[in-house]
């Protein structure tokens, strides 16, 4: 594989981890979040600060990054207990703008210059780069997908599904909306934090604009195109939205138009996403299997 392909593949793996986290919040728990890039950024900045200011190795810093991202997610998930639907969407947009502004205006976070000189991750004393880093990200992605799979099978996941479908009815059955909404927020933001930490160590330079609101829109597009609430939807969506613009590289000037038009067509004709219940892939498979039946 050429360095170019490895770079694209590594970034796809990192974004897929973040998209999986968003899927837990939006797809499983049904809490719309338009500010996921903020949590991605919080993970990246925490990892970068640990690596540059505390000079802590990635492996020791990672648990702290996950805990800090999860705690911030808990804090910023609190509005979801008070506001719903449209209000939550606007609140999360606001959170994204405020977090980005804090990265940009507070000198501790490097201000407009961002944070540079982030060291590479070392494994058994060897710095990981190129293909090695790609496999590391793929490993973390597999862990994230496995965690999502486990989440859909365990009691907490089922409780989140119930809340997504009908909050009042679920609460009537004794499912605490407070506990499970916050659980989904913590799980989703911790996963975004993991993606952020990998991103910081991969790019080795981060600045506030890497985590601005358009990134949140891209992440949400990935989840929507792949299929909200499905296991592999976010991964497929990330693959499509990241790989297609690279394949159409000559049309580089039109790539944002292409991405947004794809998002619009998806939401207009397949709001469930490619892998969703009503998505055309699944309905084709269903039709074929029905035909196959005696």
């Amino acid at each position: 594989m050429s360095a170019y392909v490895i770079t694209i593949a590594t970034l796809i793996a990192i974004y897929a981890i973040v998209a999986c986290g968003l899927n837990i919040i939006v797809g499983y728990a049904g809490q719309i979040s338009l500010g996921h890039a903020a949590f991605f950024g919080i993970g990246a900045y925490t990892a970068a600060l640990f690596a540059t200011k505390a000079e802590l190795s990635f492996w020791y810093a990672l648990p702290c990054v996950l805990i800090i991202s999860g705690l911030v997610g808990l804090l910023l998930g609190l509005p979801s207990l008070r506001v719903r639907h449209d209000f939550l969407a606007i609140t999360t947009i606001g959170i994204n703008f405020i977090v980005e502004a804090m990265f940009l205006y507070i000198p501790f976070f490097g201000g407009a210059l961002g944070i540079g000189g982030i060291p590479r991750i070392t494994l058994f004393g060897l710095p990981l780069k190129g293909i090695g880093f790609f496999w590391l990200c793929t490993g973390f992605l597999s862990l994230s997908v496995a965690a999502c799979w486990w989440f859909t099978r365990c009691w907490a996941g089922l409780a989140c599904f119930a809340l997504r479908e009908e909050e009042e009815a679920a609460a009537g059955l004794g499912i605490s909306p407070v506990r499970f909404k916050l659980l989904a927020f913590v799980a989703g933001t911790a996963m975004a934090g993991l993606g952020g930490a990998l991103y910081a160590h991969y790019m080795r330079f981060i600045s506030a604009t890497d985590f601005s609101f358009p990134v949140s829109i891209t992440l949400l597009s990935m989840v929507v195109v792949g299929g909200m609430g499905t296991l592999w939807g976010p991964v497929l969506g990330t693959l499509i939205l990241s790989a297609l613009p690279e394949l159409f590289r000559p049309l580089v000037d039109y790539r944002i138009l292409f991405t947004t038009t794809l998002l619009l067509l998806m939401i207009r004709f397949q709001p469930g996403g490619l892998l969703g219940e009503t998505g055309f892939i699944r309905s084709r498979v269903a039709v074929r299997s029905r035909r196959g039946r005696p």
């Binding site: 338009l34 209000f87 969407a89 609140t91 829109i217």
Partner: protein, 287 residues
């Protein structure tokens, strides 16, 4: 002292412009319960259309009228082809659709008109007003005058005409309005026409006021107006206007006099989150 008054006047103009952009959003939310983010893209198109028509005809009035017609058509098209088929889904589905429309239109503007800032060479047909040491420029007067006229017209339509009655009925309870013989889809169309035409006016005014028209001029208003309609109370038009005026003045004065380490664009969202936590129905909203 006169500096303070000039700051206040600028803040008021800022707020008036926010109010004009927010009106369409509040009207649409009132009737469809959709966060019409793409409204800011309509406003950008309004500014560009005004600029080109002004260049072609040389008349500001013709440019404004043409731009209003174009924007009204664009608004209705967005409603017909994007929002109406998505009404049966949860509210975030049309919201995502709206964001996609907004980004796509913004990109189209960039590809067609170029990414650079264009100037709006219009000169207004009346002079600056001097009140002692305070100068009120002709653009400021235009912003105040147009905003007041638009607000009065809107108030007249919604509270003194049968069309306004139908609009209010449809926004209260659409199935019920249908049942008593109101063509609610027609009312929705009219709402989009009015909101988008006002957005066109706002786009041209902003173009003249800052002497700038550029593809991403809608980005900040797109999300700031969301914060404004929340602060004003979702769907409440008077609330949105008051919140817009307050925000415009607060931004100008706080940036001018208080040293806060935050960009002005974050202020709206901080105010909004405060309002949501403290009084979720907004300034003038009802539960």
């Amino acid at each position: 002292m006169h500096l303070f008054i000039e700051q206040l006047l600028n803040g008021l103009a800022m707020g008036a412009i926010y109010a004009l952009v927010t009106l369409g959003l509040a009207l649409v939310y009132g009737i469809l319960r959709i966060l019409h983010v793409a409204h800011a893209a309509v406003y950008t198109v309004g500014a560009y259309a005004g600029l080109y028509l002004f260049g072609a005809t040389g008349s500001l009035l013709l440019a404004a009228l043409g731009s209003m017609v174009l924007c009204a058509a664009l608004g209705v098209a967005i409603e017909r082809f994007v929002y109406f088929p998505l009404l049966k889904y949860p509210p975030y589905v049309p919201l995502i659709g709206s964001i996609a429309v907004m980004l796509a239109i913004e990109e189209l503007c960039r590809l067609i008109a170029g990414p650079y800032i264009q100037t709006f060479p219009a000169r207004l047909p009346f002079p600056d007003i001097h009140l002692g040491p305070v100068t009120v420029s002709s653009t400021l007067t235009a912003v105040y005058g147009v905003t007041a006229a638009v607000l009065f017209l809107l108030w007249y339509i919604t509270s003194r005409t049968e069309l306004g009655l139908a609009m209010r009925a449809a926004s209260q309870d659409m199935p019920m309005a249908d049942a008593v013989g109101i063509n609610s889809h027609f009312v929705i169309t009219v709402t989009f026409i009015i909101g988008s035409a006002i957005a066109a006016v706002a786009g041209i005014l902003v173009g003249i006021y800052y002497n700038q028209v550029y593809p991403t001029m809608g980005t900040v208003p797109a999300y700031k107006t969301l914060a404004i309609i929340v602060v004003g109370g979702l769907g409440s038009v008077p609330g949105a206007v008051i919140a817009a005026l307050l925000l415009g003045m607060a931004e100008t004065l706080l940036i001018g006099y208080a040293q806060i380490p935050l960009p002005r664009d974050a202020l709206a969202f901080i105010a909004m989150i405060g309002v949501l936590m403290w009084r979720a129905e907004g300034l003038l909203g009802s539960k």
